[in-house]
């Protein structure tokens, strides 16, 4: 195999994915073809009674031909699978992941390891049966072009993930050895005492690990679970979604209305129930057994009932965080946490909706625990009180600047809540009276700032400030701010962002001074 690219490291071995993987990916097609073909062939045998009796003579012969054609098609498909398997190769070097694929149209793709935004191990049901997994590697492009190794053995996938993360972290070893040391070190840092401390008095800084020596061998960076979603809460949260509530109300209403009519059968309601049920199922399938954990590699998420997924988001990859408290969840005290991560949330990205969720439904404590991982340093004194004000509060307490009461005609409910606060590390925007949202954008992640005003806002002398982040579910915006304050925020925030950019570069999160070497 020719390796024409300069950066291709010839010392590292090339690997192939598991031979059954094309089958795992293409089994639906195979089954569909077999089904359609089989049905057609069979029906031509069941039908003959209707046609002339002579056809019965042909049976022995006509059975042979379809079988030949069928097996011919099967062989062609299998050869195609074999070819696509043979020509798919991957290599992991110190700085790059290379994947070569394609039989007729050859494709070589190279991704820089230090640009990794998130790394997933996904196991669709069929792959799980075979003990296989897909390793996905997202870089910060506009979405669709993530690197994917599908499928390799689960243990192999985990090993590769650890290797890639170790190299991405800036450890220049060719094995996972040093990485192991770091993770062990982190384990000692995260002893139970720290844990309880974290959970009781939140966003204290999660100690950032420094590569020093330690001895014990572990295969992967050890995790500490920070939040879990019990099944009961997941189902409860789904039932308390507007879609579910309105869906059920609509079905009942239609049912009652229809029962007035004669010859009513409950069967008529089936499509509606299936629709709502299907939506529920999707959320249960992806939210089942949800676990968020911290490790030296960043935040680890794992979830899934039939199709499982283990997601790792390295530190500093989170561009914006949103805590959403919908009206219907308020009584139960539940929140949802979503993030923007480059490469995940783009319009072309697969499963972008579920992969952007850090916590599908969690208690207040869960939210704080997850926050403490993705935002280790909130940059305020009394973080707990601050976040209480941010997530549920109104008014000007804890450094919040809110809309002026004169915008009351525009936002009769939200005007006392919508506003922002600036901490040393992030901008916190607060919005919504019924469905409350809180958006946090770290200063060094600010991509750009927008200041805008429409004709109505001009009449009220207010303006809107929006922070630009990568594509995703979170849209940071501070609404209906007094023009003077908005202008001040616009300028001061761009200065803060510039300052923060100079201080941090989290491409290699365990290594300092990489900058010179990199460019």
């Amino acid at each position: 195999m020719p390796h024409t690219q300069d950066d291709t490291n010839t010392r590292e071995p090339w690997h192939r994915v598991h031979p059954v993987s094309p089958l795992v990916r293409g089994w639906i097609a195979v089954v569909a073809i077999a089904f359609v073909y089989g049905q057609n062939t069979l029906s031509s045998f069941i039908e003959p009674e209707l046609s002339s009796p002579e056809d019965g003579f042909m049976m022995g012969e006509s059975l042979l031909i379809p079988i030949l054609i069928g097996s011919g098609i099967l062989i062609v498909i299998l050869l195609g699978f074999l070819g696509s398997w043979w020509f798919t190769k991957y290599q992991i070097t110190d700085r790059h992941v290379n994947v070569n694929s394609g039989m007729v149209f050859r494709k070589q793709r190279q991704a820089r390891i230090d640009r990794v935004q998130s790394i997933d191990i996904a196991q669709p049901l069929v792959a799980r049966i075979f003990g296989l997994a897909e390793l996905r590697f997202d870089v910060a492009d506009s979405g669709s072009a993530a690197m994917s190794l599908a499928f390799i053995k689960l243990s192999e996938a985990q090993e590769l993930r650890n290797t890639i993360l170790a190299r991405a972290a800036g450890l220049k070893s060719s094995t996972g050895q040093q990485h192991t040391e770091v993770s062990t070190q982190l384990t000692t840092v995260m002893d139970p005492e720290t844990t309880t401390h974290l959970q009781t008095s939140l966003p204290q800084q999660v100690p950032s690990p420094a590569p020093t020596s330690a001895g014990v061998q572990t295969q992967q960076a050890s995790e500490r679970v920070v939040a879990m979603v019990p099944l009961g809460r997941l189902i409860g949260s789904l039932l308390l979604r507007p879609v579910a509530i309105f869906g059920l109300v609509a079905i009942i209403a239609v049912g009652v209305a229809m029962s007035m009519v004669e010859d009513f059968r409950p069967l008529f309601l089936l499509p509606g129930l299936l629709g709502v049920g299907g939506l529920m199922w999707k959320h249960i399938n992806t939210g089942y057994n949800f676990k968020a954990a911290t490790s030296a590699d960043g935040l680890r998420l794992s979830y899934g009932l039939l199709d499982t997924r283990h997601q790792t988001v390295p530190p500093g990859r989170v561009q914006a965080i949103e805590i959403h408290g919908p009206l219907f969840w308020r009584r139960a005290g539940w929140y949802r946490v979503a993030v923007n991560v480059a490469g995940i949330g783009g319009p072309g990205a697969e499963d972008s909706e579920e992969r952007s969720v850090l916590l599908p439904v969690g208690t207040y404590e869960d939210v704080l625990a997850v926050l403490s991982v993705v935002l280790p340093d909130p940059g305020v004194q009394e973080a707990r009180d601050f976040f209480a004000a941010a997530i549920n509060g109104t008014g000007q307490d804890h450094g919040f600047t809110t809309s002026d009461p004169r915008v009351r005609p525009l936002s009769p409910l939200a005007y006392r809540r919508q506003g922002f606060a600036v901490t040393h590390t992030a901008l916190v925007a607060r919005n919504g009276a019924l469905h409350r949202t809180t958006v946090i954008v770290p200063h060094e992640r600010t991509q750009g700032i927008r200041l805008s005003q429409g004709p109505l806002a001009r009449r009220f002398n207010v303006a809107e400030v929006g922070l630009a982040t990568t594509a995703g579910p979170v849209t940071p915006v501070v609404k209906q701010l007094d023009v003077e304050e908005a202008r001040a925020l616009f300028l001061s925030q761009s200065d803060r962002a510039a300052l923060a950019r100079k201080k941090f570069d989290t491409n290699h999160w365990l290594e300092e001074n990489l900058h010179d070497e990199e460019r």
Binding site: Q447, Q453, V483, L491
Partner: protein, 170 residues
Amino acid sequence: MQQEPIDPAGITWMRVSPQYAKVRMVGWGISALITLVVLSVPLVLQLTGVWPGYPLWLGIGLPAIVLIAELIRLAVIPRQVAAIGYAERDDDLLVRHGLMFQKVLVVPYGRMQFVDVAVGPIDRMLGLCKIKLHTAAADATAEIPGLPLAEGTRLREQLAARGESRLAGL
């Protein structure tokens, strides 16, 4: 250039070429013509007797209203062009747009992913170009249309150089 209340304090805006209004007007002319032709079809059908049931007042009124709206749009174009401005600061580029819906955008040089310079057929006739600065965020794409070619080239080089020296991760 007139300072709008929304403009941040202490910024001197560079304005784009007034010639750019011509580019916008050509665009306006094409779209207005198409809209008017489409809207006049029922009137023509009515007058030629193909569709006698169509009310005459509607046939005349609808294109007339649209024509007035389009003429207002045309009248506003020079002011809209005058409202476009940009300012280079040490760490970032500011771009402003709009009269009715005003928008000021700041994009740090270090966040820049790539710069586009686009020249359309009418731009070329007038010696103008459009610069587009892309970042990782879709909504932080700074667009400056109607720059004289020389200024566009200078700005592109300047942006590239500053982006290089202030390059940040993501």
